[in-house]
């Protein structure tokens, strides 16, 4: 399994550097601007008051943006689930099916490793990549703190990333599960991406429209804590996100163990329903 894990990690090193350094530089760049914002808060408050509430809903409670936590939530953490969610969806949907569609999975699985080992090696590679990206992004904020009056500790800055980690794992695992059920990686990524964006809109609009509150309870992004996590971390929500991710990953593993490895369009879209006669499987 270690060979699969390190190979998966090596293949995703570009993602770690691209996403991690990009977001790290963004955080490093944003930190010193807090001082300017704090100085000009009256002008900015007037500007924000002129924006429609539906637009402002996407950024959360803007009245707190003149605190360091509020500023980072508004400028940085509010969009992270969507930005890095795209990475999670693309990585999750292609984790196994990418190799299957490229044809390399056939050769790898003809070697003495079980499907479970392959699945876990790939999944751990995805988790390590996600952690790597988040660490680089976090380091950008921590280093940028030295050029700003923001007095948040490195530990406090890490808390939103922990919450974000739960969200990313959940969407990655969901995309992985969908890839085990749907006929192509492209279709899977499109559907998972659509769900991500839909969740973002439902969660954001629920802040201004009470009728969406009940629906938003089913959105994983409802349990993303953004910069609120710095002062009041809800560990139950993180545990819930991770538990849902684990459930999706477990069902995806169950399905991967039982499905055929496709080559050149073999198989097709066949949702495994319980009343359908299953192929004999003695593993």
């Amino acid at each position: 399994m270690s060979a699969i894990f390190f190979n998966a990690l090596a293949r995703m090193r570009g993602q770690i550097l691209g996403w991690g350094l990009g977001l790290g530089l963004l955080g490093f760049y944003l930190m010193p601007f807090y001082d300017t914002l704090a100085e000009q808060q009256e002008t900015i408050k007037q500007l924000l008051a002129s924006y429609p509430p539906e637009l402002m809903a996407f950024f959360g409670n803007t009245t707190v943006m003149f605190t360091p936590e509020g500023y980072l939530g508004f400028e940085y953490f509010s969009l992270m689930p969507v930005i890095l969610g795209i990475f999670a969806v693309l990585a999750g949907s292609g984790l196994l099916v990418g190799d299957e569609e490229s044809g390399t999975l056939d050769l790898v699985l003809a070697h003495p490793l079980s499907r479970t080992e392959l699945f876990l090696g790939k999944l751990l590679g995805f988790i390590a990549t996600t952690v790597g990206i988040l660490i680089l992004a976090w380091l950008g904020l921590v280093i940028g703190r030295n050029f700003s009056n923001i007095d948040l500790t490195a530990g406090q800055l890490a808390m939103p990333f922990l919450s974000l980690f739960g969200v990313l794992l959940l969407f990655g695992a969901l995309a992985l599960l969908l890839s085990m059920l749907l006929p192509s990686r492209r279709f899977t990524a499109s559907l998972a991406g659509l769900l991500l964006v839909a969740c973002y809109f439902v969660t954001s609009l629920a802040r201004v429209d009470d009728r969406l509150t009940e629906l938003a309870r089913f959105s994983p992004l409802n349990y993303y804590q953004s910069s609120d996590a710095m002062s009041n971390m809800n560990y139950t929500w993180i545990a819930g996100l991770l538990a849902a991710a684990a459930l999706f990953a477990a069902v995806a593993w169950w399905r991967f163990e039982r499905r055929d490895i496709r080559v050149g369009g073999e198989g097709g879209w066949r949702i495994p329903l319980p009343w359908r006669r299953a192929a004999p499987h003695n593993r």
Partner: protein, 300 residues
């Protein structure tokens, strides 16, 4: 299960939705033999091979590889097999050596690396070249090396010489022969029937998901149709000849020269010809390819 059988397949069935790819494949491959698996595209060769390696799950029947069920012991089965896929795809991020070393790590470093280097040298494969720069034929060479480099007991090769130039094809056939001499069993599919005829101890012919024939190449050839050209000292009445069981007239150039098709043994024709003024008599043995085409031509 008999110790002498390396691969035993019984009533193997496999469907993709409403398409039945395998309709009850029965096959025994003996230990230490080279078994050629013949069939046109879509006949079920690759599906059979992928069931044997548990890449796809069978719907029915049994498969035993070196005494183990690949669905129950997939890891143990694959540890003792070498596999060259029909549609080989490699990771473009590697060099040839990187790809081989990665696959070797998946085999828990059980490859004989000196042997791998020797194989690469023999088929003119540069280990330093990036995979993305390789032609189809050179990628196929990587596939050959990775299949053989751990000296497996059972080699499952799906079109092993596809895309290779004739010189390398010869070398690969030599490597297959050497592996057999070292005790390995080789199960390979091919479209190149002449090479199957050259190296295979036995061949199986699959048609529409069913194995329709398993025999030694020579047996198949002897059992099949052959042509006989007969020249007589003077024109003859051919009716008596054509009444011989298994004999058909293909061409009659004049009354003194006939081209006949003979099915099965020649004994009946020769005994009938004893009563004729025969000047010359020639027979032509069909190639395995002609036998193969006979199976498909008459049964498609």
């Amino acid at each position: 299960m008999e110790v002498s059988i390396a691969l035993k397949i019984t009533v193997l069935t496999k469907s993709y939705g409403s398409t039945q790819a395998l309709r009850g494949v029965d096959l025994d491959v003996r230990r230490g033999e080279i078994f050629g698996f013949l069939g046109p595209n879509g006949a079920g060769k690759t599906t059979t091979i992928r069931c044997v390696l548990d890449l796809i799950h069978r719907n029915g029947g049994t498969v035993s590889v070196l005494g183990m069920d690949p669905q129950e012991n997939p890891v143990a089965v694959r540890a003792r097999c070498g596999y060259l896929p029909g549609e080989l795809r490699l990771d473009d991020a590697f060099t040839v050596e990187g790809q081989l070393r990665y696959l070797n790590r998946l085999r828990h470093n059980h490859a004989d690396w000196n042997y791998a280097r020797e194989l690469a040298r023999r088929i003119d494969l540069d280990l330093k070249t990036p995979i993305k720069n390789l032609s189809k034929g050179n990628k196929q060479k990587v596939g050959v090396v990775q299949a053989f480099m751990h000296r497996p007991e059972l080699l499952i090769l799906d079109e092993p010489t596809a895309g290779l130039d004739p010189l390398v094809q010869r070398e690969v056939l030599r490597i297959i022969g050497e592996a057999r001499k070292a005790g390995a069993t080789i199960f390979f599919s091919s479209h190149n029937i002449s090479e199957v005829q050259e190296v295979a101890d036995r061949v199986g012919i699959i048609r529409n998901g069913v194995v329709v024939e398993v025999a030694e190449p020579s047996t198949l050839i002897n059992r099949s149709l052959r042509t006989a050209r007969v020249r007589f000292r003077r024109p003859v009445d051919s009716q008596a000849l054509l009444a011989t069981p298994g004999v058909k007239l293909l061409a009659q150039e004049d009354g003194a020269s006939l081209l006949l098709q003979v099915e099965g043994e020649m004994d009946g024709l020769i005994k009938t010809l004893a009563g004729f003024p025969v000047l010359d008599f020639e027979t032509e043995r069909p190639t395995l390819e002609e036998v193969f085409l006979t199976y498909y031509g008459s049964n498609q």
